[in-house]
Symmetry: D2
Subunit: 341 residues, 4 copies
Amino acid sequence: MIRVAVVGAAGYIGGELLRILVSHPQVEIAAATSRSLHGRQIDGVHPNLRGRTKLVFSPEDELDRYDVLFLATPHRETMSRMPEFLAMAGTVIDLSGDFRLRDPDAFADYYGLAHQAPDLLPTFVTGLPELHRERLRTADRISVPGCMASAGMLSLVPLAEAGLITGEVAVDARTGSSGSGAKAGVENLHAERSGALRVFAPTRHRHEAEIAQATGLPIRMTATGIEAVRGVQLVCRAWLGDGVDERSIRSTYRGRYGEEPFVRVVAQRRGMHRFPDAKILSGSNFCDVGFALERGSPQVTVIAALDNLVKGGAGNAVQCMNVRFGLSERAGLEFTGLHPN
Amino acid sequence: MIRVAVVGAAGYIGGELLRILVSHPQVEIAAATSRSLHGRQIDGVHPNLRGRTKLVFSPEDELDRYDVLFLATPHRETMSRMPEFLAMAGTVIDLSGDFRLRDPDAFADYYGLAHQAPDLLPTFVTGLPELHRERLRTADRISVPGCMASAGMLSLVPLAEAGLITGEVAVDARTGSSGSGAKAGVENLHAERSGALRVFAPTRHRHEAEIAQATGLPIRMTATGIEAVRGVQLVCRAWLGDGVDERSIRSTYRGRYGEEPFVRVVAQRRGMHRFPDAKILSGSNFCDVGFALERGSPQVTVIAALDNLVKGGAGNAVQCMNVRFGLSERAGLEFTGLHPN
Amino acid sequence: MIRVAVVGAAGYIGGELLRILVSHPQVEIAAATSRSLHGRQIDGVHPNLRGRTKLVFSPEDELDRYDVLFLATPHRETMSRMPEFLAMAGTVIDLSGDFRLRDPDAFADYYGLAHQAPDLLPTFVTGLPELHRERLRTADRISVPGCMASAGMLSLVPLAEAGLITGEVAVDARTGSSGSGAKAGVENLHAERSGALRVFAPTRHRHEAEIAQATGLPIRMTATGIEAVRGVQLVCRAWLGDGVDERSIRSTYRGRYGEEPFVRVVAQRRGMHRFPDAKILSGSNFCDVGFALERGSPQVTVIAALDNLVKGGAGNAVQCMNVRFGLSERAGLEFTGLHPN
Amino acid sequence: MIRVAVVGAAGYIGGELLRILVSHPQVEIAAATSRSLHGRQIDGVHPNLRGRTKLVFSPEDELDRYDVLFLATPHRETMSRMPEFLAMAGTVIDLSGDFRLRDPDAFADYYGLAHQAPDLLPTFVTGLPELHRERLRTADRISVPGCMASAGMLSLVPLAEAGLITGEVAVDARTGSSGSGAKAGVENLHAERSGALRVFAPTRHRHEAEIAQATGLPIRMTATGIEAVRGVQLVCRAWLGDGVDERSIRSTYRGRYGEEPFVRVVAQRRGMHRFPDAKILSGSNFCDVGFALERGSPQVTVIAALDNLVKGGAGNAVQCMNVRFGLSERAGLEFTGLHPN
């Protein structure tokens, strides 16, 4: 059994890690910390785990040594405490955001402050098995991408690497409210957020920088909060290289993702399900990718969807752990999602 | 023009008062206070008022003297400051809850503390024109009922007064999230509240006591938070007196509400709109009331719906003002509601 | 491997059966029929199954012989074709509703027509393992209860059997839109149904009769369609027998459900999760049951929640199959549900 | 009083016309037709009008002659019957879509069939007062733009006419379910549409052609159905001309819309309401327009929102009538919208 600890287990990403890990056949959850709730039952905060665990939140100062440490800790704090965390586990899987951008200047530009552990940046591997599986097999420091960034990278990297798209890519990203975390704030009150179409980042969202880093292309992303608790959808427009047609795009995606357990190329001709929609992905680790080409147009529209807490966070982190420890990649991640939902 | 002030204008009830009052043809809004936001534009907080007002929130210590003072102030604070408020206006219309129960013992029982101005309690008139229109014509102190209480009183008082129902009444009340106010709290986070069916008061909700006071009947009410920002719906079960049938109930409601501008007796035989539903009432001052009788059953099921911020709060308060000042009762309250919505 | 067929596999219950069965370790789906869609890929209709099955809908006239036949067929048609279905499989698990009431008169009363196979009625066992596990171990004809009925029976039968409640029980049932099935109708249009609080059955809902049959108590149920795709919640009020207190109720539920894999007694003292809410149950096979007692009141309020398509339908049916074939009851039903969701 | 008739009054646009017109001080509704529902009470279908009208749907063959004929009739049928309609009224205001594109080739291209009354196309004026007020003062044939087209035209025409933007514009359009109309269809079932992010037109939506016609710029639009009954939001990206900065854009919008009763330039610096959101516009005739410029970027992001049935349809049509008849443009259109909602 792999002994794991989850730091920051009372939040939404922490809770989702626990949900997946309690059912994971090769994992033992040795600790789940919360600064404010230690001593309390985990299922009081994450009521979906009633009957599935008797775990109690532990304080951070009782952390010990583990095979894997999952960090669902706040940005800023994470980079300053990373040396401490690295000493606690053979493998550290960070979901905080602090180690996603390899370039300290890009970090400073997008996060608005200097990185506090720039020497550690190159030691982290991007936690997206579809793009970095080989490196992940031996990686001890893994940085899981942002939810919208994962969808964007899975959408665009295959096309960019194959040279099918060129120039600037426009990305419209839509995201549910759980991405804002479990902390109260007026802007996340139900009465304010319900039914909203809130353009909260018309430009310069941090995940934009991750997609640019992965694709090598300039990205212009707009992020809108939509009515959903879970779910991310991206609509990307990219310029096609000369002579690129529908077949070359489809075969590129199929070649890349045909054997992937958690990326599905959606290519129905008609019907209400012909493009990816996060509605059917809640709880699942799938990222669905589809596309549309207008006859005669020099652009392709790529659409991707995932559950921000699963393939866009905790599920992806567990998939990375599975790769790292040579387990079945599907272990703990079997849930298919619901229809209707 | 009637000069009015709204105390506590940054909250949801305060904002709804402003929405109605800016369009009211006989009203001048002389002040709208907010302790935390004074000096800021009203339409920054209530964005629906953009282009309709240039008002700025004022501090409470600049309050002066007005024809009408609307109190959208917190419970507890209101009762202790009431003497101060009464000195500021000819007519005080209180939406806080502190003056709804006439009996200080009932107040202590349901609110969990002793009333701080028990002498003032009998000087307030219940602000529900359908039940107290004559007294409201000359009332200077008006206490607007709770949102669920208004629906319950409009449902049950006609039947109780006509002697058609008897014994205990069971009330299932459902309410949207705006009833919890504009203050942030974890339990009102969108991610927690969206799609919830949260039984937040299985027994002993304060509005239960108001319905009991108005009907003279024992009331057992359960309150559930449902997925809506606005809207209250009540399903009430009452025991019929001997020989009471559908016709007597219908004629009682029709007799009582036939001429009312804001209570509609819904009595369609079939279709999806045959019982009251708050979905079509957002923004309107209507309370819709309907009922069902099972052949051979000794019970009647009464269903009522309203918008908690309008007929269940601010709209009802303005209707009371209209009655008090001899205006058309519909003034400022013409909006019909939307379908679909 | 158990060879199963699902008849009526294109609907919502049929789709949910397929979702559960494709992941069930001891099951082989031998056929999934659809009259209108035969020949088409199953994942075109149930897009959550993409990548999990290559099954194609088959026509009904190609049905053969199976270990288990799940019937997600329409009411009326099912009772007339039951002899035909019984010839096709060792075990028939019917989700249609036609074999839920044992008394042909009650059936005629609630369904408005005479039963067409009254002789078969007593041969069916009610498919609720918590109440009928022993009989289900050898049952070849199983009738799965209605979604609201399952919640009602799990709420009330333990109290009724222990003699803790007496007299009439009032039930307020709330249900999501998937219970209306996958057929289009104006009343289920998103624009009409979204955000609705639609009292579609103020009295005489068919599931009321099932709860009455199981408890032996008179039941008065009101059914309201609420804003959810999945989910049922019941709020039941019952009269307590003499001397019954909170402890006796809690110990009765705990005694009954302490070892049950899929019923959880929810008994938190405070917080937003202290009563059952279907919001966290989507996709899971749990029925959560909780209750509240007002000091001094002669009534108890019992609250129950489940996913109508899972514990209220397909999941419960698979649990019955697991019991019948001596498998782990949890097989195929491990998903815990999501928080937040 | 202006005598008006609404043809196709049982649909959502028809119902919204009736909602506005019953409260319009200078209008008499002389007829409201429905082929399938004639003889039935209007408030049975549009329950928000209970207590506001006793009108009954009339058959189309009883249509007579009116001052204004509003056509909420189906596309295709409308163009073939237009000569007949023109004979019935001094002013025809068409909401069908058939007379929005002036170029028959563009029509054939986007609608997939030849126009049946190409000679009439140039006789229609686009019904958007902000762009065509002078022509509308004397127009007898008015074609109201599509909901997303109105938002796009109000967003982009001022910038295009001032030469501030150039080249291709990418438009991400999001729309609620009421835009699909009141006819049942599986894809609009609540269970399928609730919470969906459905990219139903990745390219070539018809409203794209209207925006292109009005701006003279190439438009690439993607249309996504989102969780809302009412509401349209557009996010547009356009390339800035040389030297264009934030100030020139703001002053262009302010110059153009400063005196407009129904277009608001939203320009808050911070907070959750700093960009247009349809959430607060339900029932109102406002189109809110805002924008964001990233420092150093050659692009501007323009965001617009409106209620598709009001400023995107019926409200806009009534505003056109008000212009045409020299009335106050606000007549019948005073509702401000709700916050929260």
